[in-house]
Symmetry: C2
Subunit: 888 residues, 2 copies
């Protein structure tokens, strides 16, 4: 027993809680309270706080006495408001028992509806509704859900029984079963329960309620909920609340309905009411995606009757609520409603999931509509899914072998080979294959496979089906409800348009048009709408740190600049050596027996390097360009195939055996910790010399075209002060030769990517004009984890909760972050004007950007397509730092 | 010009400087001043300060005016005292010009003797000495040395000319040339100088003196001096002093002589005058090792006449000086002396190099003699060479194929294949071969080859020859002057005892007996003398931290305990898995498809582990034993040879291809940073379980024998708090099962070997009873250097001065040391009683021990044979910390 409140009542324009109490009431409970407070028609009910679920654990122990007393009190208020009594044979109150965590986890946890029905109350329900069939169907649903969720009887057993009953009756729809047929079905369901559990179905409404509450609490701990939380970074110790609420019915006839809606279009962001309903149905029927729903608004091309046409006054009432909800929550909402005999009831509202593009448009338009400030709009964008906006689209001019068309459920283009099960998708994707997951419909069990796939295609389900909702949230292109597909999962084949496709065949999906295309289709960069320019203008206005790009050639540099990069933070010179003939000169250099021979081979490479640097300098006119000297172990440049080895031996005038022996000597036990980075420069200084000359010659050439160049030469993998001092001396000696011909001031700095460099950063800073943190390698050495080898244990670490995130994705603040902080502080004691950046994957990851934004770095640098994400993340971090309480 | 003193006079019982001024006067200069001050007969002279050499650099610029004036003043005092004048034709003063750095660098720098001779003064010298032949020979020597050292004429040219002259004269000894023959030789030497340099030999004594001083200063910068300094950790910026001193002559007839001596026996430490002399010779003749020297003391078995017999009064005078020197310097001395017509002159004294065993005996006996305190004796031992004492000796009972016998120049036994040049020795040793360097005699150019060799064998030279002195200092066994050897370096062959040996043949040297043996000979541990026990008693009395050993089996543990280990600091459990059948069970475990199959294979291994643990616990009754859980990547246990793979496949009932595929999947890009350490335990917890059970079962078994067990279970490679928490929970769960049957308290701790662990040590300490720093891996990750791959660049780093020491030998205090300090401080904030140790190579390295001794750790742990070194180093560090000014 606890001494504080655990049960929170809501209903009839009042509530014990409010929308700010999500940690206690869960998202759904807080929103029901909030909706009730602002006068929306919410069926009365109460929320049991999240702490109860945590204290319960996965075991379904009895509810504590104190909690039961609180429930009784709240229930009494619900009975009074709804004018019905729980367990009453005349006017029975029925209850729904639903989960509701702090953030939405759609379909992950369990629900029990129609709690309170038994042989007595079912008669009362029949009398009140005037519809015995309805009462019996409700009873059938209770037994089925309770049996599955509370008693653990496999739901297929009930579905099979239902299917048999319909076959016997010769009907297709559940609704078409007669009262007698339903009564027989209920009897059979009762028999199933007794057979499977060894006990009769509990007829005591209190027992039904308490068992349902316990089961829903326990469902927080089930496997699919756990894996969803891991995928979505939701802590396991938050727990779920349980919402117990008076049932209202959308299946009381043709003046009843149930539906879901978004207050704006979740795919495009258009400010138009967008949703689906099923007449004469319960809510679960819509979410399950089994019956094809009808549109809310008039949509003649669909061939379906809209709610607007069918029940115009209910539609008008709903449309008014849509406006009130957005004005109150200042966010696009995803609502569930039920119309019971013409009266609209709001069951749920929550922030609506949307595509990145829709998010952008909604934020911008809400600023225009006066709902949000610019700052709030910037903060409202989900930076983690922002790069989806920049995913390439199919080339509109390309020829396409279109097989079929489904619903454009989640935009973007995806090509991959077919996987017929989520397990297969996960396995093959892990092996490096591009996969499309093709299913009749998806279920929560498919989540890992959906995440592993490039795109998702389903044969059934609408725009709000599981596949559609989850794909949009994950940023995966999805075509849903493509009924032309004929799937044979066991036979691993897909028939469509008279053709058959198997696991080795590739398809392409266009999630923006719903097209399903054979083979692959060329892509083009996306067209960004007006909202993009507007929002990025606000973003850059709030940003405090610079954003640069990692790019190794002129083309990527130009792309990066178009995406807003303010310079190049990392140009990896080694990538230039792989193209065409260059690799041959590189290999000759590596195999050279003497510094002289090496210098000769390097002379061959120099013009190539210069050419590449010129292209980058040109693209970055007026902006800084950081060029890293040769970094990887030389072994990486050598051929492995026999034919290539022979070719190289021939060119060098050596025997194959000799070339193989040299290659063998260059092989390393741990190349990551081997002869690379500045260590190459110390042993082979002619490399530093050649690269410096190529940079400076390129700078002079591009300056002569009138451009303003800002070259920054970066020495990699420094651990010792003496290394940077040594390299700097050699670079400066060459710089002295060029000084009179060069306008630019050339900076010389270092990549900080080893723990020791952080520990002695004050000494290293004596010789550095800038630091750039190479967070990939710094993570590898700080944690002692090879990125290439981590796949054998990191997933287990995350599964078992030893790590929250992959440290190669999200910066390890406690370890790597502490070293970065130490290095910046030490470096600035010696050189207060030290320029500091980070390059590497973390430079484009929002949480990592937020960590370094607050005074640690002057800029971040990331791959071109992540530049907009980094700009947004930096602006959001700046806004949060200055206005910590602004609504997000 | 400088405004402070640069020239320091000494002679006749007085001196400007003293023995404490080594940084300014160099070792030799300071000692000459000190000897003169205490009244020993030192030829008058003066020392030019070290700073002059540093300011000069390698270029031979003119001496500054101010310095020349100081030289003139000092020279005038020398002339007065020696009753002769520099450049005077009647009674000419001759001078020696010698280097003298702060620490002795024997043979590394240059010397010029007989400075001041020319056609006029040579006549005066002939008249004064009454020996024209002597005067002409002295002149010949001046031209030869000056020609070589100052003018850069190859010394072989002069030697060849001398050789021709002796051939023409039909004599073998230099001394046998007549005056006329010497005059003709001098003429030819003059012609050589004129031919090679294009200018006549300078006859102006002042010009000779100044040029000699400049040349000796410059020799500080020559290559062999640089490489000697690097090998011996002598800073390049110390510089050398130059000592200018009146010449005295050991070659004025049979009442003259020159010699070198040690005040005690440098091989055994026996308190007996020990040295060699050459009658009628100059000092360089002794050091060069060309003529066979005679003993100081009577030694009938040698067949040579001793000084004691030849010049009893000079011997008595020298023996008295020996006592005065030791009483004054309180150290065994290495002296050079000359007897000029019966009068003894001391030319030099310095701390004598000695074997580790001699050092031990001398220190102990000096305490008995009242010369040293116990503390001083402990501090007097050179800890860096201390482990040489423990080198195995040849088994006295083994059969030996003795080929010849030379001088027992440096003790210890060495076996290796023959290298005929130092370059060959260095190259082959670097490739992993055990090498003996076999030379006619060694020169300073051979130093790197000597260091790379296991032992050194020479055909010529005595106990004070270059080979003997350097080998003793390096701790390399050496047999010198083995005249039975017939060496053909060009033909790469050695003939001895009628047999021929080449580069592929192995020899064994016994440096304690002088035996040269064919092939290899079994070894046994050394017998340690009484001094050992005495000294180690004092050592342990002053020590503040514990010393443990790294040992993986009962035998090593017992050895370690005999050598003074106070527990096991690191028992690597994986080593146990390689022996016999165990490797098969281990391989089956690794290949197991399921946890169940794995557990079964582990069950096979468990009794083996238990047995090993029992042996270790028994050996360490009453002492703590730290057992590290399985650490290396599993791939290391798999076979690589086809036959072994087939065998394994057969045993597992799998195809070879399948086994190869599994092995391939286990291979890693960077195994050092891969799936190893506690990561194995997290993914395969049944390994932790099996090992914990084996440890606890062993503990119970050995407790039942009455022993007192202190097991410490160590979790390796922890980077995250959660890892240790996770592993500890599993270990404790098993511990709970055993608790009632076990008397011992079992500690659970972790190996700190990743930078991240140091950064979050406070959090890790919550779950750790102890920390043990794995400094090998911590060095690898902190510096980002793979120990296995460092050979390609670390030598270049040391050559070029980027690193002072190999960080895998001497702890990197600035980087790794800073992390250790941080981790200990953080750890102790959470757990003030945290037990802290270091294991790994640094635990037995004296400088590293000194770093951690001062409050950082409770103990160090190292390989058994290094335990005594660690004890000594710990005691010395403690003594230096408490008495920083005590004499060393």
């Amino acid at each position: 027993m606890t001494d504080h409140k655990q049960v929170y009542f809501f209903g009839d324009g009042a509530a014990d809680g409010d929308g700010g109490m999500r940690p206690i009431l869960g998202g759904k409970g807080a929103t029901l309270a909030e909706m009730s407070r602002i006068g929306l028609p919410v069926p009365a009910g109460f929320t049991i706080a999240t702490e109860v679920s945590v204290s319960f654990g996965p075991e379904r122990t009895a509810l504590p006495e104190g909690l039961r007393a609180e429930i009784d009190t709240a229930l009494a208020r619900v009975e009074q408001l709804m004018d019905a009594r729980f367990g009453d044979a005349d006017r029975p109150l029925l209850l729904s028992v639903r989960s509701g965590a702090q953030v939405s986890m759609p379909g992950m946890m369990d629900t029990v509806l129609n709690v309170g029905l038994n042989p007595d109350t079912v008669k009362g329900l029949a009398a009140w509704s005037g519809d015995e069939r309805f009462a019996l169907d409700s009873w059938r649903r209770l037994i089925q859900m309770f049996g599955d969720v509370v008693l653990g009887v496999d739901h297929f057993v009930f579905e099979d029984e239902l299917h048999q009953a319909k076959l016997r009756a010769g009907v297709r729809d559940d609704n078409a079963l007669s009262a007698d047929q339903l009564r027989a079905l209920v009897d059979r369901f009762h028999a199933i329960i007794e057979r499977e559990t060894g006990a009769p179905f509990p007829n005591d409404p209190q027992e039904q309620l308490h068992a349902s509450i316990r089961a829903v609490f326990a469902s927080w701990h089930n496997d699919r909920a756990r894996s969803y939380r891991e995928l979505n970074d939701i802590p396991h110790d938050w727990g779920t609340a349980v919402n117990v609420q008076a049932m209202v019915f959308g299946n009381l006839g043709d003046d009843s309905a149930t539906g879901v809606a978004f207050t704006r279009d979740p795919s495009t962001g258009e400010n138009a009411f967008y949703g689906e309903f099923l007449p004469n149905a319960q809510g679960e029927d819509v979410v399950a995606g089994i019956r094809t729903p009808q549109p809310l608004r008039r949509a003649p091309e669909s061939g379906l009757v809209s709610l607007e046409e069918m029940m115009p006054s209910a539609f008008a009432e709903l449309d008014d609520m849509r406006r009130r909800l957005e004005a109150h929550f200042r966010e696009m909402q995803d609502i569930e409603f039920t119309i019971q005999r013409g009266r609209v009831w709001m069951l749920q509202t929550r922030t609506g999931k949307r595509t990145a593009a829709a998010g952008l448009r909604i934020a911008c338009e809400m600023v225009e509509e006066g709902l949000l400030s610019q700052k709030e709009a910037v903060l409202a964008i989900d930076s983690r899914r922002f790069d989806a906006l920049l995913h390439p689209q199919l080339d509109p001019d390309a020829e396409k072998d279109v097989l079929a068309r489904g619903l454009p459920a989640s935009p973007g283009a995806a090509t991959g080979r077919i996987a017929f099960t989520a397990e297969d998708a996960e396995r093959r994707a892990a092996a490096g294959e591009d996969i499309l997951l093709v299913r009749v419909e998806t279920t929560p069990e498919d989540i890992r496979g959906m995440n592993a796939a490039r795109g998702i295609l389903t044969a059934r389900g609408g725009m709000t089906s599981h596949a559609a909702v989850v794909a949009r949230q994950m940023g995966r292109p999805c075509v849903a409800g493509c009924s032309a597909l004929d799937l044979d999962v066991a036979g691993q084949s897909l028939r469509v348009a008279g053709r058959t496709f198997g696991p080795d065949d590739a398809l392409t999906l266009d999630g923006g048009t719903g097209e399903v295309i054979a083979g692959s289709v060329p892509r083009v960069p996306p067209r960004l709408g007006d909202s993009w320019g507007t929002l990025m203008g606000w973003v850059d206005g709030h940003r405090r740190i610079g954003v640069r790009a990692n790019a190794d050639n002129g083309e990527d540099a130009a792309l990066a600049r178009r995406l807003g990069a303010e310079g190049i933070g990392l140009c990896r010179t080694e990538h230039m050596f792989f193209a065409g003939d260059r690799i041959n000169a590189m290999r000759e250099m590596i195999m050279s027996p003497s510094p002289e021979a090496r210098r000769k081979a390097l002379d061959t490479l120099r013009p190539f390097q210069q050419e590449d640097f010129e292209a980058i300098f040109r693209a970055m006119d007026g902006l800084p360009v950081t060029i890293r000297l040769l970094d990887p172990p030389l072994h990486e440049f050598l051929p492995t195939r026999d034919a290539d080895l022979e070719d190289l031996a021939g060119r060098l005038g050596l025997g194959v055996r000799e070339v193989r022996a040299i290659a063998g000597r260059l092989a390393e036990a741990n190349p990551m910790l081997g002869h690379r980075g500045c260590r190459l420069g110390v042993t082979w200084p002619e490399i530093i010399e050649m690269q410096t000359r190529a940079i400076l010659d390129a700078a002079i050439a591009v300056e002569s075209e009138g451009a303003r160049i800002q070259p920054e030469i970066m020495v990699p993998l420094v651990a010792l002060e003496s290394e940077l001092e040594w390299c700097r001396k050699r670079i400066e000696a060459i710089l002295d030769e060029y000084r009179s011909r060069l306008r630019a001031r050339v900076l010389i700095g270092t990549m900080i990517e080893l723990p020791r460099a952080c520990l002695v950063a004050d000494r290293i800073a004596r010789h550095a004009d800038f630091f750039s943190f190479g967070t990939n390698d710094l993570t590898q050495t700080t944690l002692g984890i090879s990125r290439d080898d981590a796949a054998t244990f990191l997933p287990a670490y995350i599964d078992q909760g030893l790590l929250q995130h992959d440290p190669f994705v999200v910066l390890d603040e406690e370890g790597v972050g502490a070293l970065i902080r130490m290095a910046v502080e030490k470096g600035r004691t010696v050189r207060p004007d030290l320029k500091v950046g980070i390059c590497g994957e973390h430079g484009g990851e929002p949480r990592s950007v937020a960590f370094v934004e607050n005074g640690l770095v002057d800029y971040v640098s990331c791959s071109p397509y992540r530049v907009p994400v980094a700009r947004l993340a930096a602006a959001q971090a700046a806004l949060r730092a200055t206005a910590p309480d602004s609504p997000a």
